[in-house]
């Protein structure tokens, strides 16, 4: 009788202690994120004004100026990267999931995993060797290509995982309806996996939007507003790097604001993509 009560007490104590430990771990994980957000907001928000978004930089050391060229540049370079990387990544992911059983599939998977682990600066140097040097100058195109190289293995692997999660019974049902294999793969299996694939692409875009190292050798940066993709182009990440390592107080202020802007931009892009691709039949989760 008392043994039972003792056991119950012990269980409740252990349960409480464990819940506390887990909650603490969750707090530590979230604290870093909240810390970054809070820091950015505190130090960057005060510098955000209309001029910040519509003006290009003032001459070095002078107050004022904005990062309009870097915002446009980020959108263009990331857009280029997504235009190259999303189709290639999703296509290779579908290939791996559907036909990737053989030796070629193993090879592609292996290469994708190695590429996933490659430092991004190495990718920058690679693109510099094969695009920037033959072209003779830095360009947004090269920057987009470098980021695309980073995106492809990420998207390919998540796409493969998502497609593999679709139950085999759905594919069978599609084939039993007289669909061709390609039709079953695209219209039923890939469509079922679409929300997961979109999430994978968004995560990849969010990650590469903040990349700096591969752009140092490719997009280089530019003080002027340009939309010419064959020319060097500024991005927010490059701007942050330059301003944060520069000597002027004004630059540091702008770097904080630019970092906050980059974060907001990624957030808006993610929400917009989710909204645009929302399934009309998806039930709220």
């Amino acid at each position: 009788m008392s043994g039972g009560r003792l056991r119950r007490l012990r269980r409740r104590l252990v349960s409480g202690a464990m819940t506390g430990v887990v909650a603490l771990c969750a707090l530590v994980a979230v604290a870093a994120l909240l810390g970054i957000l809070g820091d950015l907001a505190a130090k960057g928000a005060s510098s955000l004004d209309w001029n910040f978004f519509v003006k290009t930089p003032a001459p070095a050391g002078q107050p004022g100026g904005g990062v309009a060229h870097a915002i446009a540049g980020t959108l263009i370079v990331v857009g280029l990267a997504a235009a190259l990387g999303v189709p290639a990544g999703v296509a290779s992911g579908l290939y791996l999931a559907e036909y990737g059983g053989g030796r070629l599939g193993w090879l592609v998977r292996f290469v994708a995993d190695v590429l996933n682990g490659t430092p991004s600066i190495v990718v920058g140097i690679f693109v510099w060797t094969w695009l920037v040097r033959p072209m003779g100058h830095f360009s947004a195109l090269a920057g987009g290509a470098a980021l695309a190289v980073l995106m492809i293995p990420m998207i390919a692997r998540t796409t493969e995982e998502m497609v593999r999660l679709v139950p085999h019974s759905l594919r069978e049902a599609a084939l039993a309806l007289g669909m061709t294999r390609r039709c079953a793969s695209l219209r039923v299996v890939a469509r079922t996996a679409l929300p997961g694939i979109v999430t994978g692409c968004l995560v990849a875009v969010a990650r590469i939007a903040g990349e700096t190292a591969p752009l140092l050798f490719t997009a280089l940066g530019n003080l002027n507003f340009t939309t010419d993709v064959t020319q060097p182009m500024e991005t927010l990440s490059l701007q942050i790097f330059q301003y944060a390592t520069g000597p002027f107080e004004e630059w540091h202020r702008l770097a904080w604001a630019a970092a906050l802007t980059l974060l907001g931009l990624v957030l808006v892009l993610s929400l917009a993509a989710r909204w645009a691709l929302r399934s009309p039949h998806a039930r709220p989760r």
Binding site: L170, E172, A173, A174, A176, G178, M179, R191, P280, R283
Partner: protein, 279 residues
């Protein structure tokens, strides 16, 4: 599980077990010494069975006896399984469906299939699910749209689902109940107007009410379609089928008109199974 000694024949039953004897109607499907293998393992051996047109044929037998594999040979789904291949012939209206000129994709439009668990396509609406198997020719034309609408309504009516879903054709198919989902799958299989409907334990995951609705449906549908149903439920076979085939250890033991097979089976094994002595 102990098996009566006489349930294990030393030799396979004679391939000419003359299943057509006593079976009503002209055969729609006829298998001739059909053997289905996974790699080198034969899951179905030497089965010759005549399936009458516009009637319900039930395949019964204990788990692992090859009845599902046999069913999947009738629309060439078996060969999609790892290492799946067949020998022998399957005649659909006299034509060998394993012949070199036969396109399995086109064949599966003529021989529809419904699975044990409902498999609505989750990313599609009720309407799109039913329309999924229809050919997509002239996707833009108004006439094509009207034809597709008509085909979807006809299939849903045949599956006795139209009244329940007509107001939510654009809603997710996952919002339907399990029984409705299974009838949706039947409607989806009927939409391309097949000749034959194969059902693999279609009520195994459903409650008694939903099961009863599906059984009533099958009795209605046999006026237009040739139906083959795999079932574990002997009462179900007795209720809905005109012909019953008893499979055991990959072989066809006996096939006959249902009432005769259930009341006066010719083989001792069949009687042992029907009376619950094994299986």
């Amino acid at each position: 599980m102990p098996v009566p000694a006489d349930a294990r024949p030393a030799a396979p039953p004679a391939p000419s077990a003359s299943p057509a004897a006593g079976v009503p109607g002209r055969p729609c499907i006829e298998t001739v010494r059909l053997t289905a293998l996974y790699g080198r393992h034969a899951a179905v051996r030497d089965v010759s069975l005549a399936v009458p047109a516009r009637a319900v044929t039930a395949l019964i037998g204990p788990s692992g006896c090859g009845k599902t594999t046999f069913l999947r040979c009738l629309n060439r789904m078996h060969e999609l399984a790892e290492g799946g291949w067949v020998t022998g012939r399957v005649l659909l209206d006299g034509e060998d469906i394993y012949g070199p000129a036969v396109d399995p994709v086109a064949l599966r439009r003529r021989v529809g299939m419904v699975f044990q668990r409902p498999t609505p396509f989750p990313a599609m609406s009720v309407y799109d699910n039913v329309a999924a198997g229809l050919r997509r020719d002239g996707r833009g034309g108004r006439a094509a749209r009207a034809a597709r609408d008509a085909a979807v309504e006809r299939a849903l009516r045949q599956a006795a689902l139209w009244d329940e879903v007509k107001d939510r054709l654009d809603k997710s198919a996952l919002d339907l109940s399990g029984g409705q989902q299974q009838r949706l799958c039947i409607a989806r299989a009927l939409a391309p107007e097949p000749d034959v409907l194969l059902l693999d334990e279609p009520t195994a995951s459903l409650d008694p009410t939903a099961t009863q609705r599906i059984e009533e449906l099958l009795v209605e549908l046999k006026a237009r379609y040739t139906i083959v149903i795999v079932t574990h439920n002997l009462q179900q076979a007795a209720r809905v089928s005109d012909v019953t085939a008893f499979f055991y250890l990959g072989e066809l033991v006996e096939a006959d008109r249902t009432e005769r097979l259930f009341t006066a089976p010719a083989k001792a094994q069949t009687e042992a199974y029907l009376t619950g002595r094994f299986g």
